[in-house]
């Protein structure tokens, strides 16, 4: 056992290992990716005995693979981000009916904000929809305890269990005790039984079993440590800090606080909002002390197990309360439950939160917002105004952009130039997808007209041409996304005769989430080498008749490839191959020849490369040599020959070898 500084996700991985997890799978997605990477690291170091861990092709493949392992008695761990559960939902909905033998925990990370996601969906809602229990940690430490309990709940009731932390819990770090080595629990192997086969008759029976077990799990949750109730009273003494007594609820109600300290106001919080509430109460106490304002005690409850809702514990909490304010991110899940409870027990308390417009309706909660909302709710004569200075100077905006040297920039420019060269009637529609290349939407590239969900660019393009057959729809997909969810869309295009051009941006990794391997890389998460799946061979097998390969950093070849594919009648594809800059060593930066420059500005205004900026005074480009990777794209596109890559014999020669080609 050693105390180690760990990010939430790293800690959760160790908690699963300590719980004896045997088979782990998922698909990368912020803020969930580090969990499996940590397990793979422990495995590589020989510290995690008997564990299988993999990046699966997508979330659905992962969960189905884990279902087989769980039927065989193994403890399993599934990881994904919130939208990943949408992909795995077909498997999850049925898996709950079939049930599991080995403990099955779905680690699903939600992303309030959203900070790195396309939706603000709430996995607590998904849990109740799927009738699957869910835990919601406030801190990494609590998440670790929840994961261990989740395995026990899963095995006791043969149900999958979701643990859903949010970004701020996943990416917060602290010192945590971890075991130096772990051993996977042995699994007995698959035993044949009719229960593993889902049929309508069996589903009807299973639905009854689910309905029977949920109230039992709710009762267990009411008695567990994850739904603490406490009375927070505020010392009148200037020296006193906020005194909080944390006890099991029976003892809390038996505590008989001083008569002026019997709270009539309750605060409920879920997830990290619970930590913010504690911080906000500290701020309020400080303000009250400074302003000589007396504070009444408040009753505080964390709901760490939102579904099935621990109604018995909540009923203890609401005793004597006149008003409750609920703090939670994403949906008003807990607020709904307290409203429901009030009806069920005919309680007189009022419920305040998102539905009443008194708390933050979307995006993240913060300590500041919660403090302000509590002050209003508690009708305190206190103000938070003046806390925090604001800079009286413009601050440069720094939106995320494609990195200097990113091969996607070359791909986007090639397609754009090809369409421009084909004339006005070919005005294209750029159907983008999820990954680093979504950043192609930014100026000056402006090459993402649509973006919906993983793999959807390919199929959306088909719908656009179905309405307007003369429109050229170009679908962009990354190599990892292609394997995750692009292939069915290609099959649809071929089968139904949609004349689209697919552009595969093959940078040999899953770049946006931190360079994870995928089926096309030929390397697994634990470093095993496999024969890489060939995107070309897959496209051929799916019936795509025109497939062209090009290096996106060799602008002229890349444009020609796009032109040929777009001009082809029927589904066609360009595979642009050049590795992510994170995978290769940078080359010598590009050199500028002042005499050759005609000040046309195109290198800056068309490329949007972070390594190039425009010197207004001297009217020429400035090269940030610390960022430039020497990719050569700007040199290829400079018609004046004013930019040159020294690593290439003659950068104006279109056939010069790209510095990156050998890594593709």
């Amino acid at each position: 056992m050693s105390k180690t500084f760990l990010m939430g996700n790293e800690a959760f991985a160790h908690a699963a290992l300590e719980a004896g997890v045997k088979v782990c799978a998922g698909y990368p997605g912020t803020p969930s990716s580090e969990v499996l990477e940590t397990i793979a690291k422990a495995h590589a170091q020989g510290k995690a005995e008997g564990v299988h861990v993999e990046w699966s092709t997508n979330e659905k493949a992962a969960l189905e693979m884990l279902a087989g392992a769980a039927y065989s008695g193994a403890r399993t761990l599934f990881t994904c981000k919130q939208v990943g559960l949408n992909v795995a939902s077909d498997a999850l909905m049925s898996l709950n009916y079939v049930g599991v033998e080995g403990g099955t925990v779905l680690f699903v990370a939600d992303d309030p904000g959203p900070i790195s996601s396309q939706t603000e969906q709430d996995t607590r809602r998904f849990a109740s929809f799927a009738k699957v229990p869910v835990f919601d940690p406030a801190t990494p430490e609590q998440g670790c305890a929840m994961i261990k309990t989740a395995y026990d709940v899963s095995e006791r009731y043969h149900t999958p269990v979701i643990v859903r932390p949010t970004t701020r819990v996943c990416h917060a770090s602290t010192f945590i005790d971890i075991e130096d080595t772990t051993q996977a629990k042995p699994a007995k192997g698959f035993e044949k039984d009719s229960k593993w086969v889902i049929f309508p008759k069996r589903s009807f029976e299973a639905h009854g079993e689910i309905n029977d077990r949920l109230p039992k799990i709710a009762a267990d949750f009411s008695a567990c440590e994850f739904n603490p109730i406490e009375v927070v009273s505020f010392g009148q003494d200037a020296e006193a800090d906020s005194t909080a007594s944390r006890d099991v609820p029976v003892q809390v109600s038996a505590q008989e606080p001083a008569s002026d300290q019997v709270p009539t106001i309750g605060v409920v919080a879920g997830g990290i909002s619970y930590a913010y509430v504690r911080e906000a109460l500290r701020i309020i106490e400080q303000l009250a002390r400074e302003a000589h304002v007396a504070l009444s005690a408040v009753k505080l409850m964390q709901v760490g197990t939102p579904y099935p809702f621990p109604a018995q514990r909540a009923e203890e909490f609401v005793q004597g309360l006149e008003a409750i304010m609920v703090f939670e991110e994403l949906d008003h899940v807990l607020e709904d439950e307290f409203l429901k409870l009030a009806g069920q027990i005919h309680a007189p308390y009022t419920v305040h939160g998102k539905l009443t417009g008194e708390t933050t309706a979307r995006g993240e909660n913060t300590t500041d917002d919660i403090a302000a909302q509590l002050i209003a709710f508690m009708q305190l004569p206190l103000s938070l105004e003046g806390r925090g200075m604001v800079a009286q100077t413009p601050i440069p905006a720094r939106p995320p952009v494609l990195c200097a040297g990113c091969p996607h920039r070359g791909s986007f420019i090639a397609v754009k130039n090809a369409l421009a060269a084909m004339g006005k009637k070919h005005e294209g529609v750029y159907c983008g997808d999820i990954g680093c290349y979504t950043l192609g939407n930014a100026k000056p590239l402006s090459t993402v007209d649509t973006c919906l969900c993983m793999g959807a660019g390919i199929t959306i393009a088909q719908g656009i041409t179905a309405v307007d057959p003369n429109r050229k729809a170009v679908a962009f997909v990354g190599d990892s996304t292609f394997f995750a969810s692009g292939m069915t869309g290609v099959a649809n295009a071929v089968y139904n005769g949609h004349d689209i051009t697919l552009v595969v941006l093959d940078n040999a990794t899953t770049a946006m989430t931190g360079s994870q391997p995928h089926p096309g890389t030929g390397v697994t998460l634990v470093g095993e080498h496999r024969k890489p799946l060939s995107i070309d061979a897959v496209l051929q097998a799916l019936g795509v008749e025109k497939i062209i390969h090009a290096n996106p950093l060799k602008a002229h070849d890349a444009i020609e490839a796009a032109r040929e594919a777009i001009g082809f009648e029927g589904p066609s594809a360009v595979i642009y191959e050049s590795p992510c800059t994170a995978l290769i060593a940078p080359q010598a930066p590009v050199e500028f020849d002042e005499d050759a420059c005609t000040h046309c500005t195109k290198c800056v205004s068309r490329l949007g490369c972070p390594a190039l900026s425009w010197d207004r005074e001297n009217r020429h480009p400035l090269i940030d040599t610390s960022l430039c990777t020497g990719c050569g794209l700007c040199a290829e596109l400079c018609s004046d020959g004013a930019l040159a890559c020294p690593t290439q014999a003659d950068s104006t020669d279109q056939s010069c070898p790209s510095s990156n080609a050998q890594e593709a």
Binding site: T167, H171, E279, T393, P400, S626
Partner: protein, 211 residues
């Protein structure tokens, strides 16, 4: 409670600087939580790390600080110091390097980014800002890789020495030797010497700073 925020741009090493502070706090026996920016924002975007330390043995609940509650903001870029200003306490310390990093823009008409003007504006509005001649220090070290450590060492040095920060929570909470120990514990072995040299360079040149 001591709160320190480290503001920069993806790749500048603010996560490591936060980890070093957390290590120093742990050696003191304090509870500590940190928060980082990870994901899409890392692609050339602004990133901020927060370190919250229970130096009075109080419980640290949340990894993120409230506005106006941070004792020291360590900026690895002047504009990022301005962006992080709302976190800083009214009498807190802001340290910034002189050098700026221009935002990526293809807009030829955009006004050029002027980091010196940002620093002047912050000082003019009454922020206690301490400026580091990072170019001289990094030239002396031969690399910009340890800018994060230099700024961290400078911040601790100023807050410990400058009488204006007598009531700062970070003052004398972490000594330079404790910082060195934490660096040794956190950075890869081959980078220890470089980072310790960076600390020494900061201390040697400290007297020339107007603090």
């Amino acid at each position: 409670m001591i709160s320190v925020s480290i503001a920069g741009i993806g790749g500048q090493g603010n996560v490591l600087a936060a980890k070093i502070l957390a290590q120093a706090a742990k050696t003191k026996g304090w509870q500590v939580r940190t928060a980082e920016t990870i994901g899409m924002a890392q692609r050339g975007g602004d990133v901020i790390s927060h370190v919250r330390m229970g130096n009075n043995h109080e419980e640290v609940y949340a990894p993120l600080p409230a506005k106006g509650s941070v004792d020291v903001v360590i900026a690895l870029e002047p504009g990022e110091g301005a962006r992080a200003l709302p976190y800083l306490k009214e009498n807190g310390l802001l340290v910034v390097p002189q050098s700026g990093i221009a935002p990526s823009t293809a807009d030829l008409k955009a006004d050029p980014y002027n980091p010196a003007a940002v620093i002047d504006a912050l000082a003019a509005q009454g922020v206690a800002v301490s400026v580091v001649d990072d170019q001289a220090l990094c030239d002396a070290l031969g690399t910009r890789k340890a800018l994060n450590i230099m700024m961290l060492a400078h911040a601790i040095n100023v807050v410990n020495a400058d009488p204006r920060f007598e009531h700062n929570e970070l003052r004398n909470a972490i000594s330079m030797d404790e910082l060195r120990e934490a660096i040794v514990a956190c950075v890869k072995e081959k980078f220890v010497t470089m980072n310790l040299t960076a600390v020494d360079l900061v201390l040697q040149s400290a007297k020339v700073y107007k603090i």
